[in-house]
Point group: C2
Chain length 253, copies 2
């Protein structure tokens, strides 16, 4: 059953045809003209109806597939998907970046920066056994106004004997430090988020109560061969941070 009636595609528009068709179908699905499980018109039907090429139709449909609004089955057809609402995808482009957008006068304070020798726990984190390796060690606090928001401890292998620049001291980003002070190229990272009760040290530094709930994020950065080349632990005040997640056919634009 072809579902277009007054549906309009303007072939002479500057807006790409595939995009017009994508938006058209997206609206029909969103409005419920096409319900989950129902089949879309076939690619050839759409191509014929709108007098466009099948490749263009496919491009439009592939956008719907990317948006998880539709799924295709070879030999059967293309169908409206059922929104999955039980996923959890918390996204935050740089936890710290977020603060800069919110708080006006944020500030990074360096508590400590030095070169340290390997100890057992460090060797374990970096999965190496060379006891002579040295590491760059940083402790920083991020604050906005009079409030201290997060506390970070960072380590990276110190293999080039380059001096530590002043700009690095001001706002040392782990990937940046690695690129500057090692011969490794940081290409991937793993983060683990947990909740914790803050320790005495953290309570003092952040100005919160002992055992107050905090976010704890441990990050490991890897080179192309998956060797760990950087490690950090961050404590974020639980009363100042939250993660928000949108799921399903949520409209972004």
């Amino acid at each position: 059953m072809v579902i277009q009636e007054e549906a309009s595609i303007d072939k002479s528009s500057v807006i790409p045809i595939y995009y017009q068709l994508y938006k058209l179908m997206e609206e029909q699905i969103r409005r419920g003209d096409l319900k989950p499980g129902e089949a879309l018109p076939t690619e050839n039907e759409l191509a014929t109806h709108f007098e466009i090429s099948r490749m263009t139709v496919r491009r439009a449909i592939s956008e719907l597939v990317s948006a998880d609004m539709v799924y295709a089955q070879q030999g059967r057809g293309t169908f409206v998907a059922t929104p999955k609402l039980d996923n959890i995808i918390f996204e935050l482009s740089d936890f710290n970046e977020e603060i800069r957008r919110r708080g006006l006068n944020y500030k990074t304070t360096l508590l400590e920066a030095r070169i340290v020798r390997a100890d057992e726990s460090l060797l374990k984190k970096f999965e190496i056994s060379d006891e002579h390796k040295r590491f760059l060690y940083f402790r920083t606090v991020l604050s906005a106004g009079d409030d201290r928001l997060s506390y970070e401890v960072k380590y990276t292998i110190y293999s080039k004997s380059k001096p530590i620049l002043e700009t690095e001291l001001k706002d040392p980003s782990l990937p940046g430090l690695i690129a500057a002070h090692t011969e490794y190229v940081p290409v991937s990272s793993k983060k683990v988020l947990q909740v914790a009760s803050c320790t005495e040290e953290e309570a003092l530094i952040l100005g919160i109560a002992l055992n107050a709930p905090v976010f704890l994020i441990e990050q490991t950065i890897y080179d192309p061969d998956l060797r760990p080349v950087g490690w950090s632990k961050s404590i974020y005040r639980g009363d100042r941070y939250k993660l928000t997640s949108y799921d399903g056919w949520y409209k972004k634009e």
Copy 2:
């Protein structure tokens, strides 16, 4: 500079050509043959070199773009991207699903299920003013073995007067309840994750210490017109849950 030497594309293979080329270029980038900022060969060069159509080349490149390993600039060329390692994208396909994979004998226990009248806080959450609205109310505990892992409170509008089925009592999923007991179609959701100290009630139910750190996730489910049609609050034990996130050019397969 064309970078292929012994590069091989098997046109008669069952593996799609675009996929072979995608993997080929991905490997070159991953190995560092092509470094961040460097230009890929042009689409025409690649098409000529491998004796394939330009559309096939474009398909391969579009895969690299999706993987964030490459970016295209009209009129200039296509370039290797610098891995972004400061994103936080925590993904967990269904928090509960996760448990089922880990713990073997998980179990959902229903503490309470009834129909309640609207009170002020509920009307606010659902952004409505009709005091006569009624709601389905659920309280459940998820456990694995003898350990209780999470505690959930769920509300949904009760508009169809359908009986509550036994299967729903066993493992009431919020989207499922909405589909069954309202005329609304749940299509999108918003979740907010925070850390908290558990209350006395939560401590008793989960068998943990008072004020122990917990994850708190509030979820609101919306219909296509962005009207709230379901709301839930979940408490997850902090000592049993963590969120892991991979970023950059992390290899999935």
